[in-house]
């Protein structure tokens, strides 16, 4: 049984029949790193949040399941979910400055997690916090626990947020563009830290990003999202070496390589409010297919461990 299983997850605006994430299914073994790749508005962050049963205002789940380690997240009462959140699944976000509390020291904020999930004495908690800060590579943790978020640099802040996510000793970490706000040298360091945690602590990671380079670097398996759907899914090396879907192909070829852009993806993403009937990539697709205009392709298994949603392969 896979460690994480998402089955036909449909998320959308409350009260309206408008799916923004449509029938997303994937599964993940323990210690794997899943990369979710997609443009903004493609539903990748919504999917990430749904793994913690969290939704932005106005958005809710229509149907589908999330099963973490045999526990069906959406069948649990809210009280049980609170115990799970932070303990089994944790999340780190893009901008640590706005997701950390500015009036509490980072030590206090990490301690809060420990207070909630574990029954520890005051000194034990402090030791634990220092150990956590050490683990994520924050120098002088004894001094740093008394720092406020604004006193830390961007890189240290992101490390503090990772420490907070790790405080509940989660098995699954959702990382929603954790390096976008950082400089490239810090980005490398944070990616290395996450990879190290994955290797040493068997942490399963769902890594959400729009950057092809980062995804190839960190993920062992990739889902490509387009307009709320998975359009392609495969092991990382397979996906980058043999991309099947025209969108994935163009995405890779449009990345500047040695100072040249080989292909440009024209147009914009289809407007989901118009409830497109056919293939959602139809307007931008360079392959002319008859079926795509009216019919919606299904995600099919083209070969072992490689799924694609395109009529070309049916």
């Amino acid at each position: 049984m896979p460690f994480l299983e998402v089955k036909d997850l449909v998320l959308g605006l409350e009260g309206k029949n408008l799916p923004l994430v449509d029938k997303v299914s994937f599964s993940l073994e323990k210690k794997e790193i899943l990369g979710i790749l997609g443009e903004s508005g493609c539903g990748k962050s919504l999917t990430g949040f749904a793994l913690l049963r969290l939704f932005p205002p106005g958005i809710n789940r229509y149907s589908g399941e999330v099963i973490i380690n045999g526990l069906s997240l959406y069948d649990l009462p809210e009280k049980e979910v609170l115990k799970l959140r932070g303990r089994k699944v944790a999340i780190i976000l893009q901008d640590p400055l706005s997701s950390l509390n500015p009036v509490l020291t980072i030590g206090e904020q990490i301690e809060e997690v420990l207070k909630y999930h574990f029954n520890l004495g005051k000194n034990e908690r402090k030791e634990r916090v220092i150990k956590l800060l050490n683990e994520v590579g924050i120098p002088d943790p004894e001094i740093r626990i008394k720092s406020y978020p604004h006193q830390l640099s961007g890189g240290l802040r992101q490390r503090a947020m990772i420490a907070m996510a790790l405080a509940g000793e989660p098995e699954l970490l959702v990382a929603d563009e954790p390096t976008t706000a950082l400089d490239v040298t810090l980005q490398t360091q944070i990616l290395e830290l996450l990879y190290e945690l994955n290797q040493k602590k068997d942490l399963t990671i769902v890594f959400i990003s729009h950057d092809l380079g980062i995804i190839r670097w960190i993920a062992s398996k990739v889902c490509v999202f387009y307009a709320g759907e998975i359009v392609e899914m495969a092991k990382t090396e397979e996906l980058f070496n043999n991309p099947l879907h025209p969108y994935t192909q163009t995405l890779i070829e449009s990345y500047p390589k040695e100072g040249k852009i080989r292909k440009v993806l024209r147009g914009g993403v289809v407007n989901l409010l118009e409830k497109p009937k056919g293939c959602r990539y139809f307007e931008r697709c360079e392959i002319t297919c008859k079926e795509g205009k009216e019919n919606h392709p299904e995600l099919i298994s083209f070969k072992e461990e490689h799924w694609v949603r395109c009529f070309k392969y049916e």
Binding site: Q187, G213, N241, Y255, L265
Partner: protein, 319 residues
């Protein structure tokens, strides 16, 4: 030097900040920076945040005055321009900023946003201005219907196109592009980059491209300038960039860039540490605490930018 659009010579810029309410601390944002941009040339400035790249852009645009050093517009000293000359030259230097959400006035319709610089700088003729606006919108790939819209009705990519269109309204010679694609998705970024490259050719435009993204800089630039803590540490011609030996900091940036075309998952030994605060500069070479190749001399003396050959200048004792 006749075709020089903008040149800065030995620029220093100091800022003062208040710490703990009373005490004023000064720091240098730019130290002895010299740079020349010729007609049709693109200079890409690469560096981490806090390295002074945006300040340099502002000085070139005359939005900030340098404390020491000279700025030349079209070979003439900026300080000595007469009022009339300034009025002619000023609109030749335009800017496109990172965030198209905050750089467009939310209360102006796109038509007004585009017309304003035209009416002030070119001529007071609304009809001709609108014609120009339509022409420019066409160039940046937007339909003329957007003229009646407000910025909030446009997507991020469309807004960035409007920002670019606004810069083109006055037929500039040079555009300072301050992280023009960082706020955009890769597919939109690529569209904008392609437009910029087209304009460079068709209008013989010069750019100063400020970015922390290596592929973006490599795509557009003819010269690549790497800055660290307010100093230029390397200048390299794009054509030879992949072939020559670089400054250790450039090597670090190269190493840090996650390349979607290489499968290797590795731990970089080169990438470490954070950029120091300009308030507390390390002694000697500012980069030495993070440098792999540092020696004793590196912590004592400051290396000057030296010419290696016609294509490369480096500030490092080890090169």
């Amino acid at each position: 030097m006749n075709n020089s659009i903008v040149e800065v010579k030995n620029i220093w810029k100091r800022y003062e900040i208040k710490r703990w309410g009373l005490k004023r601390i000064a720091f240098n944002a730019l130290i002895n920076v010299s740079l020349n941009v010729s007609k049709g040339e693109t200079v890409g400035i690469l560096g981490e945040s806090g390295c002074g790249k945006t300040t340099l852009g502002k000085i070139i645009l005359d939005l900030e005055k340098p404390d020491k050093g000279e700025v030349f517009w079209f070979g003439k000293k900026l300080k000595e321009l007469t009022k009339e000359e300034y009025k002619i030259y000023r609109p030749k230097f335009q800017a496109v900023f990172q965030d198209p959400y905050s750089s467009l006035n939310p209360r102006y319709k796109i038509a007004d946003i585009l017309l304003e610089p035209y009416l002030i700088n070119v001529e007071k003729n609304k009809k001709k201005g609108l014609e120009k606006a339509e022409e420019v919108l066409n160039l940046v790939g937007l339909r003329t219907e957007v003229l009646k819209k407000y910025p909030h009705a446009l997507s991020g990519g469309e807004r960035q196109r409007v920002a670019l269109a606004r810069a083109l309204m006055v037929s500039p010679s040079l555009i300072v592009l301050d992280e023009p694609t960082s706020a955009l998705d890769i597919t939109l970024a690529v569209q904008i980059l392609e437009l910029l490259k087209d304009f460079k050719k068709s209008f013989n435009l010069s750019y100063i491209l400020i970015s922390h993204s290596l592929p973006v800089v490599l795509y557009l630039s003819d010269w690549i300038v790497v800055m660290y803590l307010g100093r230029i540490v390397e200048i390299c011609k794009k054509d030879v960039f992949s072939k020559v030996k670089h400054h250790p900091y450039t090597l670090m940036l190269l190493d840090a860039h996650p390349d979607p075309f290489s499968p290797k998952r590795f731990f970089s030994k080169k990438v470490k540490g954070e950029i120091a605060s300009p308030l507390y500069r390390p002694n000697g070479c500012e980069f030495h605490p993070r440098c792999e190749e540092r020696e004793k001399a590196c912590s004592e003396n400051i290396p000057q930018l030296r010419k290696i050959n016609d294509f490369q200048y480096i500030a490092c004792f080890k090169r």
